[in-house]
Amino acid sequence: MTDRMGSATDAPKVGLFVTCLVDLFRPSVGFAAVRLLEAAGCRVEVPTVQTCCGQPAYNSGDRPDAVAIARNVIGAFETFDHVVVPSGSCAGMIKEHYPRLLADDADWAPRANHVARRCHELVSFLVDVRGWRPTRTRYDGRVTYHDSCSGLRELGIKAQPRYLLGDIDGVVLTEMADTEVCCGFGGTFCIKYPDISNRMVGDKVRAITTTGADTLLAGDLGCLLNLAGRLKRDGSPIRVRHVAEVLAGTCDDAPPIGEATNQPSGRP
């Protein structure tokens, strides 16, 4: 990996919003993100008052709690040059929805807009803002990439992860059918309507399996937990990972999602 600006003092100061799922389920994604950001010449800090972006409350209609959580996040991140998030869904929350949530609040609306303007999803930040490309990074696998709905439609992220994966030695990318269809995760949706969610993840897993890929990547841990959970329940050997782990070359640090060991075949 290149180290464009190293520790230059003019390196932008990036606040990493880890997301609750990465914090709790898969810290290795957060560390991969830090590594990528540093390789792209950023100084990375992780404010410790962050918890969650508030989507569970916001999407359940609990606006007061969503507002309170949004203020916490805004307060923690407003001094950074950039706020970077390894999730399209949480980045979309901060970028698109915080300004809307706080639009009627004269004090908070400008602060929400300020943070929203500086907020980026990780992969799109690397490509669009930093112009970074991986070098001498290897991952041997036939990969298929799942676009998360918020990343795709709220933030327009589609080309960027594919562009970077094109620079990873050993990766062969095969697209699945219906790439723009949801995997059925939907946060609390998958708990509230498990039968419908199950059908959706079933459709998606079929599309994934049909590609013949041995690795599934995506940029959102919510989708990934859902897809890995179903693939593993079905006994599939497909390895499931966050795209940041492959781009950072840190796959050796942790087994694929839902697996206990790091065997290349992914079989338990």
Binding site: E45, T48, V49, M200
Partner: protein, 475 residues
Amino acid sequence: MQSTANVFPSNARRALADERLQSVLGMVDGFNGKRARAVDRLPEFEMLRDQARDIKNHTLQHLDHYLERFETRVTEAGGQVHWCRTAEEARQAVLGICRAVGATTVTKGKSMVTEEIALNRFLEQNGLVPVETDLGEYIIQLRQEAPSHIIAPAVHLSARDVEQTFRSHHGDLPDDRPLTEARDLVNEARTMLRQRFLEADVGITGANFLIAETGSTVIVTNEGNGDLTQVLPRVHVVVASLEKVVPTLEDATTILRLLARSATGQEFSTYTTFSTGPRRAGDADGPEAFHVVLLDNGRSALLGTELQEVLRCIRCGACMNHCPIYSNLGGHAYGWVYPGPIGAVLTPALLGVAEAHHLPNASTFCGRCESVCPMRIPLPRLMRHFRERAFRERLPPAQARWALRAWAWVTRRPRLYRLATGVAIGALGWLGRRRGRFRRFPMAGGWTAYRDLPAPQGETFMARWHRERGHDRRA
């Protein structure tokens, strides 16, 4: 139509378990590829969406003005407008028109608004014989079912289902008559309907547009049945909701360029028919009388609110064709007239959030509906509006609400959150270390019924970051 939207979860379960239904559900997918190609062929499609949105926004802002102008023009052309606040008023208006001409048989073109006011049943109860003439509507009328899609009402049925329907309802149909091909079925329906077209005293259609400038009503069909419905009987009744009005013919044609492309991927529907008033002296054909039954039914209450945007809808069906919930359940599970994402907004808007709060909640907010809606209606945002109302009115189950509030209470307190999650994640990581996932998990039955739960790595990011990089930590 009687709503069952309040029991959506059980409707949904039934739909998922219905193998016959599941085997035909893929059918609307065909529209999507055609839509995508039609959009690709029209470079100005995105610009047209903006124009169409602006036309409707302008009209809705001055709705009273345009509706009054529409009425003036209809009257000048020799027709009559009936203003109806409620479904009941609209039913009575139609019945009154039918009675005044001593009608017995009424033919109908496809119209969602007449489904909304449950017109057929009402007319039957009052001794009239309504006959649906759109093929799909005709089939479901025989089966006494509701439409399952706003432009393809019988899309929940296979050709074989239709054959069986015809065999059991068309009395004199010989057993050896082939009815397996689509063309056989169409011919059979056509034979039955031809007679009805000639018998009918009144023809009822809906409208895709009402044009204020000319007092015209516009319908768009692919079968031509709408034309026969409105031209052959003595009286033509148009039943339309008030947001169908647009200022000018040109506005209507702008939106028409989006409608068929978004609906079926056609550039234009086969028939686009403009009707203005009754037959004039010297006209070759046309009805003797022309009525427009203009329905509000709760729509005007949406004006000036965030929900006004839903009134831009042109009922193209693109949102449901692209909805992963709709495509797994079909339309009937939604429990009322309008299924899919538009139904998830319109049903609570018109019937109330207590009746329909499940519909806007049963979405992943994947946003695909909004991305294809030709009128740029922010459907997820409007669904969220109803989620917030439902939450305020305590409609979701108490257990779910309290779990959420408890989670939020902790989440708003980072130190406590750190402490609680650190302990829990440590324990889970340890428990899951052998398999890397759980097959069963307390209180996550909805998840683990169908999927494993990947185990956490065991230490939170925050704890590990603090451990490894504690020196450059910022509070």
